[in-house]
Amino acid sequence: MAKRFDLRRQTGFSEIAWFCLFALYAPILMLVVFSFNDNRSVVKWTEFSLRWYYEAFDNDGIRAATAISLKLAFVSAFFGTIFATMAALATTRTKPYKGMYLAYAVINQPLMIPEIVTAIASLSLFALIKQLTGVTGIGYLMLAHTVFTIPFAYMPIRARLEDMTLTLEQAAADLYAPPTKVFWKVTFPLLIPGIVAGAMLAFVVSLDDVIITLMVAGPGETTLPIFILGAIRRGITPEINAVSTILLVASIVFVAIFFLVQKKRTK
């Protein structure tokens, strides 16, 4: 019997793989390790301590930034997921219509266009609106985040819908369910894993965003990544490491939930 082609048998494969893993995770590991260092230095280890975590929690700037980040992520993930769900339904649960493919492309546009372009475009538009209406506030930031989270939430929801055969919805209609009942009794409950996965992605994407936030955020609307960015201008401190670690853990938790629901879906 001929040996099946196995990439792992290629010379140098495991070396390259290990190098990539190292390159990916070594910096993160270092950041995490030094956040527990009982010393001002971020390169010289002395002793384990939670000191910097306490300091971070005591820091009003960090607390405020965390609150804003969470608020922003919740609001944008919530609305982004709703819009993404509607868009996914409109691109899978309708008769194919002219421009459906275009709609698909338009929805995914934020994934293709460089973020800095979107950021500057949002900045100019919002500046214009602010000038015309005089309305200011965190609403602009929420709006911007909601918009760019849509394609991220859209992908898993659409994937889930494509996996679900139309037969179940037809069976419901056959059993006297009018279209709205079909949606709430069959489509929606079956779509929940996709929606949860989409919401998780949207949340993380909003939580981690820098470029658009940097452009759109008004005074006092400092999110955690922006705060960190500002703080390292004054040098990297273990306190920043601690905050970054918390942000990292939060992201991992949400991404893990995303993968868990995705995996259950394919079971």
Binding site: A171, Y176, P179, K181
Partner: protein
């Protein structure tokens, strides 16, 4: 149920045309199909894959709209109604059970949508569970059921709202042979007990013959013949029907003379018979004969076809003796058991039962 006077068809399909796609890629799934399905009838749509059986069922259920023609339910035009407004239920080929609902919630679904009150829903669900013998599994989820059990749930769910007509799209296709035979009897029993009109789709001719009151044989978007299993089996009207249902011998005959609905035909240049049908003298016709309605006779006896044995094929319940006729056409004679008493190369004589030979339309 007790209206012997009411002869309105349960379903009446008139000149239905349904195409998919357009231009060069257009497929005509149904090409002017008309058929009446009687009340309380077990009616089967039989035909090879792609002949339009599912499409016809989906037009009756309302999942597709016809290009032309009408669908009448008990005399009322329903072609424009959406599926949820048609008093017709479907058992889907892959069952389509709601994976997030338990067995009893699945069965209750249609009743709840119809707005039945709770007590009536509960009572009906219990009755349905009993009918399909699934009482112990009421609280299971669909993915905890075997294929046969899922099939029963699908059936119970579709029967619960007491539809006027039940549509079944190859409901037994996914089951193994044994279970399939059991479910065939079960379905027949359910149909008798409920008195609901069943429109049953299958591409298995044996299944169709066993279960149906009447069968419509379809091919290429057309209905070839509608009739009782006996008609379809012994009196196929077209070559397609003859060929599709069971083993059959189709041999050439020459028309010698005709008289008022019957004609003298020479089969395979060998045997002259009087057969029903009309054709012109000298014309060549196709004649169909079931293998089990022809027998061996003494060689040289009158009224027989002579042939040479080419093969013996044992198939369990009997043996098919493959023969070659004088005109070079093949012929099969079926006998009981395994001992045919002849071997390849032998010359034999075939006698054909009275009325067993049928002239085909084309």
């Amino acid at each position: 149920m007790n209206q012997p006077q009411d002869t309105t068809p349960a379903i009446s399909v008139r000149s239905l045309v349904k195409t998919f796609g357009r231009g060069a890629e257009m497929i005509t799934a149904l090409n002017n199909v008309s058929v009446d399905i009687r009340q309380n009838e077990f009616f089967t749509l039989l035909g090879p894959s792609g002949c339009g059986k599912t499409t016809l069922l989906r037009l009756i259920a309302g999942f597709e709209l016809p290009d032309q023609g009408e669908v009448l339910l008990h005399g009322k035009e329903i072609a424009h109604l959406p599926p949820h407004k048609r008093p017709v239920n479907t058992v889907f080929q892959n069952y389509a059970l709601f994976p997030h609902l338990s067995v009893s919630r699945n069965i209750a679904f249609g009743l709840e949508m119809l707005g039945w009150d709770k007590a009536k829903v509960t009572a009906t669900v219990e009755r349905m569970l009993e009918l399909v013998k699934l009482e112990p599994l009421a609280n299971r989820m669909p993915d905890q059921l075997s294929g046969g059990q899922q099939q029963r749930v699908a059936l119970a769910r579709a029967l619960a709202p007491e539809p006027r007509v039940l549509l079944l799209d190859e409901p037994l296709a996914a089951l193994d042979l044994k279970l399939r035979k059991d479910m065939q009897l079960e379905l027949k029993r359910l149909q008798d007990e409920t008195g609901i009109t069943f429109v049953f789709v299958t591409h298995d001719q044996e299944e169709a013959l066993t279960m149906s009151d009447r069968i419509a044989v379809m091919s290429n978007g057309l209905i070839q013949q509608v009739g009782t299993p006996h008609d379809i089996y012994y009196a196929p009207e077209t070559r397609f029907v003859a060929d599709f249902i069971g083993d059959i011998n189709i041999i050439r005959g020459e028309v010698n003379s005709t008289s008022d609905g019957s004609m003298q035909v020479t089969l395979a240049g060998d045997l002259e018979m009087t057969l029903a049908g009309t054709a012109s003298v000298g014309q060549s016709v196709a004649v169909a004969i079931r293998p089990e309605r022809s027998h061996f006779a003494v060689v040289g006896a009158p009224e027989t076809l002579s042939a040479r044995v080419t093969d013996n094929v044992f198939f369990g319940a009997g043996t098919n003796i493959h023969l070659m006729l004088n005109n070079g056409q093949g012929f099969i004679v079926r006998i009981q058991g395994q001992e045919s008493g002849c071997k390849p190369g032998d010359t034999v004589a075939i006698a054909i039962e009275r009325d067993a030979a049928k002239v085909l339309d084309n």
